[in-house]
Symmetry: C2
């Protein structure tokens, strides 16, 4: 476990398929959301992977459920969510849950 | 939620970095593990994304914690896990937890 992380913590799994919408706008918005997430209370970390075909999984980790709710309601994030529905994604799925166990091999941090 | 899935269910998040080991062996093994997972009791679904640079996230979903443990101890899977440590991955991290909420946009199934 990365140092400073609680024994149990929460996560948001965001699975998505990019549309063919302009990549530069998406890249700026995506980078900004990662930056903004880092500034939120309760934020622990994020992992994000996207294939060339546009299929992606982003997982953000949070100290508690309330931090996730506050992030969801963040005004700038809500604007990005609207753009996500309108332009960026042909579909997405969000799952929220709690991480209770972890083990790592050859890696110290997230 | 895909039909037939329970309201709450479990997940294994497998984040990993591929080494430069031979791709064809890895591809066969990886495909076989997905196929084998589908045959396990309690298996619900899987999502997997890997970038060209070798960073990947695979999330498998399970009906209960016991199903995850049985899958972890599956003999063929354990052999694959050994190869993962020896050859396939420079690092990986496994997280286990429970999914309690989900919402989807433009998508009916996993």
């Amino acid at each position: 476990m990365p140092s400073g992380w609680p024994k149990e913590y929460y996560m948001v799994i965001f699975s998505s398929q990019r549309t063919d919408s302009e990549q530069s706008h998406y890249a700026v918005m995506s980078e900004r959301m990662i930056e903004l997430a880092h500034q939120q209370p309760g934020f622990l970390g994020v992992e994000s992977v996207r294939e060339d075909g546009g299929l992606g999984i982003t997982i953000s980790y949070w100290r508690d459920r309330d931090s996730i709710e506050a992030w969801r309601q963040n005004t700038e994030h809500q604007h990005a969510q609207s753009l996500g529905r309108q332009d960026f994604y042909s579909w997405f799925q969000t799952r929220i849950g709690m991480v209770t166990e972890e083990r790592a091999f050859g890696r110290d941090d997230i």
